[in-house]
Amino acid sequence: MDMSVVLPEECLSQITSLTSPRDACRLSAVSPFFKSAADSDAVWETFLPSDYEGIISNSASSSLLSTCSSKKELYFHLSHKPIFINSGNMSFALEKESGKVCCMVGAKAGISVTWGSKSYWTWPSLPESRFPEVAELKPVCWFEVKGKIETKLLSPETTYAAYLVFKFADSRNGFDTRPVELCFYIGGMEEEERSKVFLDARAGAPNLSQDRGDGWMEIEIGEFFKKHGEDEGVVYNLFDFDGFSSKHGLIIEGIELRPKSV
């Protein structure tokens, strides 16, 4: 018995929407009837974040809502190319396989880089950055980067990791001779994850940073579970206070939050 002739399309769409975007793409190769159900707006609407309309209409790409001819097209648009929200200081995209939200907060919005009134950073524009400005460290003895990142846009019930996205200027110093201290926690919590990492990997030292393939490096600075309805934000802090040697040349693009692959 061919079920697909007796089962209504809504039923098939309902089944598909309870799988995943990756499964739905595969199901569309089963038969033309399946394709029509698996490509339907009813299915892809459920794979988009529940507040996608609000997010997109407040972004620099608000026209997407009218130019995309289907929810599936919109989904893939968001998974191929981030859109920019919060006055361009935050990028928003979907993980292609799962539809989970990935965000990157640009240095300008995501890190607090001043001590008192004095800034130890310059703000160059780099062609390889998605943001208009990135933060480059001037020579300092005491190094600190910290910030709090909103998590309310992230997908619920998901384990996320936070990554520092960075690189070094041609002239750099100090990050290979001493590690920086790292601490990370969910806003409102006492517990902290603390560790020490070398941002500039030395020969022989474990290299925890990875080349992203987009001109930047990344290093994981912490992970957290985003619960439903909880958006306390996450707090991070990178510092090295007791160095007598000067540091400079670190360039920070931002902090990325994306689902931790299992």
């Binding site: 039923c11 595969r26 199901l27």
Partner: protein, 167 residues
């Protein structure tokens, strides 16, 4: 419709393969199709037999078992609790893909929302990460794509076809 204090009313249902089922009214009223039958025939006699020409005895028995348990859960205020999840898991564990398909077709025809939601989710879980060939066999589908059409879909979403479960 029976009123409080009266004897429990029994609804008679007749399947496509000619079997007669006697079902307690609250359970039978879970079936939207039966409910609307009585809504439309208000003066139907108590021993009216409702014909179900699209359902055979085996899936109907399974559906009655499921609805009976869920009517009781609701009456006991247990809806949404762990014992419901436990019952559902036990209920579906022994069901083959073939039985599952018959159940969803019957539940869809009888229009039983709660059961349909549960079966839909169960089938979705059984199709996750499975190959196209597995899904075709599951639903008994003749592939009526042309080779070119199918190739086009596979090519467009190549990444979605990598690493699926063995059939």
């Amino acid at each position: 419709m029976s009123k409080l204090g009266q004897a429990k009313r029994i609804i008679f249902l007749k399947t496509a393969d000619g079997q007669l089922f006697e079902v307690d009214e609250p359970v039978a009223m879970e079936f939207e199709i039966v409910k609307s039958f009585f809504d439309e025939n208000e003066d139907a006699a108590d021993d009216t037999v409702v014909p179900l020409p699209n359902v055979s005895a085996e899936p109907l028995a399974g559906i009655i078992e499921f609805c009976k348990a869920h009517v009781e859960f609701r009456a006991n205020g247990a809806a949404g609790k762990d014992e419901v999840k436990k019952f559902n898991a036990e209920y579906i564990k022994e069901k083959s893909n073939e039985q599952l398909k018959e159940l969803i077709l019957a539940a869809n025809y009888l229009n039983i929302k709660e059961m349909l939601d549960f079966l839909t989710e169960t089938i979705a879980n059984r199709l996750k990460n499975k190959s196209v060939e597995y899904v075709r066999a599951f639903f008994g589908i003749e592939n009526d794509f042309t080779p070119q059409e199918e190739e086009a879909v596979r090519k467009e979403y190549e990444w979605a076809f990598e690493g699926v479960d063995e059939d």
